[in-house]
Symmetry: none
Subunit: 251 residues, 2 copies
DNA sequence: TCTCGCCACTTGTATAGACAACTTCGACGG
DNA sequence: CCGTCGAAGTTGTCTATACAAGTGGCGAGA
């Protein structure tokens, strides 16, 4: 086993974690198999035991490993997981309903991150971010305002795209695999810009889905998707195998 | 600040964590307030800096604290939120946030199914259904109106329960395993009853989650869960791949 | 053969010390 | 007045060391 490359910018314990996960994914270590002990890893990777220990402990918390005091460290059994929210291209959804999709790019520019955007993207306040505001219509009626702040480190060419032809979803997805997503759903009364774009009345509520996506540990973008609340719904159905999902019994 | 009692069986870093959470819950430290630095905690609690650091780091991952390198440690803002499409007992969610839960049964009766309810439960229009309307509060402020139509074929004793002691979730879950759930999420302006129960203004939107659950092919119940949209959020994060876990900061 | 105790090895925790990275703020000089 | 620099303080990481706690196996003795 080669020593961990120390010139990386990432902290050492993170490199150790990536190394171990990499070997599991590569098939070097199989489910249930015993890993080298902390002392062996320490020698093999050229790090201190505390560093190896932190990496192993976090991987254990994250479900990759199972550790037994006095015994050893094992590759955890994969747990059955069910999809919660499926991420889909709005154009595909509309096409599936047999309607015509078109969209209008309202705004597209490089901006300095506000404090809130910076926090969402894990960037420094004022750091440059790429901003887009697009209105999607289905059969002529507005169904979604898509506001997006994109991390330029991930998609430097974002502003050069023609989003009337390629959706941002499609473009970003083509740049690299997304490995995590976070969804927050809120109801709100939209601001004047969104209200005007969606053609809403002054007291008509709006369904706001805020989605952040990660690729390789980097926050790729934060999308704020506003839908007219009374005309749009998010729906999903999950089928449970026995008690596979969650600890609690469904409501 | 008294020194941590070292004779406890629990590990020291855990005692430090408990101590800090305890002080937050006790109101010694408020949301957004700055905590003593690691060095101060080290001196005050009589532990090493690494131990204090581990406690603070884990509390940060768990969402209790926000840490800014070079600046300090702050008590995180808690916004009531429930897991997205994960079915959980609202009482557990509130308890996890360290808040007090109480509820009020507004209505509880047998009714004839309206056309819409009958369709939702796959019953004949006019067939008897069991109806409940419960207001849930978190630390005294209303967070959810739970309206439920229950299939009497599944839970004939539903009306005899004391829902201030046992949640409907708990009771129905104990009757049999749920094997499917459907969620529909909408934003809406609530009707007068819900508005009054939640204490909302006339133009304040509402997050409406409609959930149907099945057991053994039978529709068990339809729940309509109304949350104040501006004060409540549904959130969830999925990890799709290996390296995803880590850098992303939970809100 | 069975049991007990010991030993080697593993993971878990705690500490002290060091340096890196970052923020804030005030002093200084233009 | 403004910008720059640096000092002080904060969190983040890494190391070396030590001991505690738990597991498994081996051997001595009943």
């Amino acid at each position: 086993m080669a020593a961990i490359r120390r010139h990386e910018t990432a902290p050492l314990y993170r490199q150790v974690k990536d190394h171990i996960v990499g070997r599991i994914l590569a098939g070097d270590w199989h489910e249930g198999e015993r890993l080298p002990s902390e002392n062996e890893l320490t020698r093999a990777l050229g790090v201190s035991r505390m560093t190896a220990h932190r990496a192993l402990r976090e991987l254990s918390v994250e479900g990759w490993l199972t550790r037994v005091q006095g015994d050893g460290t094992y590759v955890a059994e994969v747990k059955p997981q069910s999809a919660l929210l499926e991420i889909r291209d709005i154009r595909d959804e509309i096409a599936e309903r047999g309607r015509a999709h078109d969209c209008r790019v309202v705004h597209l520019a490089r901006q300095g991150a506000t404090a809130e955007v910076a926090r969402a993207l894990s960037l420094a306040p004022g750091a440059p971010v790429l901003h887009s505001l697009v209105l999607h219509r289905e059969g002529g009626t507005p169904v979604q305002v898509e506001e997006r702040h994109v991390n330029p480190a991930f998609a430097p060419g974002y502003l050069d795209q023609d989003f009337t032809r390629t959706t941002a979803f499609e473009y970003l997805g083509g740049l690299g695999p997304m490995d995590a997503a976070e969804h927050v759903i809120e109801a709100e009364l939209p601001g004047p810009v969104v209200r005007e774009l969606l053609g809403l009345g002054p007291a008509e509520p709006c369904l706001l889905v805020t989605r952040r996506t990660w690729s390789n540990g980097l926050v790729v973008s934060r999308a704020r998707l506003s839908h007219p609340g009374s005309r749009y719904r998010l729906a999903g159905r999950q089928d449970y195998l026995a008690n596979a999902v969650g600890k609690g019994t469904p409501q």
